[in-house]
């Protein structure tokens, strides 16, 4: 069996980049077909293909790292760089929506009544459910840090409990935000206020769901003894992503919910 004379990871040929690319093609074309012809088949097929791709691709990464030992220190360094760069790109994604919000709210047009919030908009009280949501996410930041320290100290049961608590807090946030969306006195169609509110908070909510899913996968892996006290980068990446989601909420809360009311 040939052995490599370096510490890097030359991956096996994989079909998942191709299936992922086709999934993206199907989802985007499917979106256009849905909008014009009212059939969701193509878009749904694309989403199924995306889920299959994500499951198998990340399953393979877990196999390569945990079961084959390919994630040496230099490889792990590359994974860290990768996650940091990805989160940075997400920061820029949200920056755009904050730009849109401040563009419209700092100089409100006569069509809005020359004021912010615009005439006719009943804003949500920032000291009710939004404040609770802030507390929930901040608490989840504490519990995920608790989980990290538990993993580093080899405390298996505590790590499982604190990670589970973090995920529950994430679900609680999503539930509360869902209720707020249902009860809100304005919709996405209510001018630029509605657009900026629901697009910014909506994408944030999607990221909470993604982050909760990432943490849930980490919980499953922790239960299955994948993480050691020295090597648990999958968990660290999930925790970084979760802190990013929390920080985005804090900016949303201060800008849109509080200042914007």
């Amino acid at each position: 069996m040939a052995h490599q004379a370096h510490a890097y990871h030359m991956v096996d040929p994989s079909p998942w980049p191709l299936t992922g690319a086709v999934a993206a093609l199907l989802m985007t074309s499917g979106l256009a077909i849905w909008m014009h012809f009212h059939t969701m088949t193509l878009m749904t097929l694309g989403m199924i293909l995306l889920l299959l791709t994500m499951y198998q691709w990340w399953r393979d990464i877990i196999r390569e790292g945990t079961f084959q030992g390919h994630h040496t220190p230099p490889v792990q360094k590359g994974l860290r760089y990768g996650m940091i760069l990805f989160i940075t790109s997400e920061v820029f994604f949200f920056l755009g929506f904050f730009w849109a919000f401040y563009h419209s709210s700092l100089a409100p047009t006569p069509e809005l009544g020359g004021c912010w919030p615009p005439t006719g908009i009943t804003t949500l009280d920032p000291f009710e459910v939004p404040l609770l949501n802030t507390a929930v996410l901040l608490a989840s930041g504490v519990t995920v840090t608790w989980a990290h320290h538990s993993i580093m100290e080899g405390l298996r049961k505590q790590a499982i409990q604190s990670l589970a608590l973090t995920i529950l807090l994430g679900f609680y946030f999503t539930f509360l935000q869902g209720m707020e969306y249902y009860e809100a006195p304005f919709t996405i169609a209510d001018g630029v206020y509605g657009s900026t509110f629901f697009v910014a908070t909506g994408f944030h909510g999607l990221h909470v769901i993604i982050g909760s899913t990432f943490l849930a996968v980490c919980l499953l892996r922790q239960v299955q003894y994948h993480f050691t006290s020295e090597h648990h980068f999958g968990f660290e990446a999930a925790a970084w992503y979760w802190h990013f989601v929390d920080v985005v909420w804090l900016f949303l809360y201060i800008s849109i919910y509080w200042w914007g009311s």
């Binding site: 096996d12 079909p15 299936t19 199907l26 074309s29 293909l49 196999r63 079961f67 084959q68 003894y225």
Partner: protein, 115 residues
């Protein structure tokens, strides 16, 4: 009853008495069932505990052996037949989807003239 794999003899006797009780409504069968219920509880507690322990067992070493076997299989198929099934399904959807999207886009580009 489904939990009691460890002691199949007593489980058969329990099933027999259960059906006897159902069909005859006899108190004797019920008494026997109650006696077995105690021992069954102990059995199931032991069995559930041991099966729960089995679920949380550390299988990382076995997985490491499986995925480090020198069989030339790529990582996405190295897990066995389940991998191959999932791969074939995904690829089938990919090929079908690629063809379907080309068909849909071409037909969208040629609108039907109204009569």
């Amino acid at each position: 009853l489904l939990c009691v794999r460890a002691d199949s003899q007593s489980s058969i006797i329990i099933v027999i008495h259960y059906f006897l009780f159902l069909s005859h409504g006899s108190l004797k069968d019920l008494k026997i069932l109650c006696l077995y219920d105690q021992s069954l509880q102990q059995l199931s507690r032991r069995t559930i505990a041991s099966s729960a322990r089995r679920q949380l067992d550390n299988t990382v070493k076995q997985k490491q052996k499986l995925f480090q076997e020198d069989n030339g299989m790529p990582i996405h198929l190295k897990g066995g037949s389940k991998d191959a099934l999932l791969y074939r399904t995904t690829m089938a959807l990919t090929v079908f989807g690629a063809g379907y999207v080309v068909y849909e886009l071409i037909s969208a580009a040629m609108p039907k003239k109204p009569q």
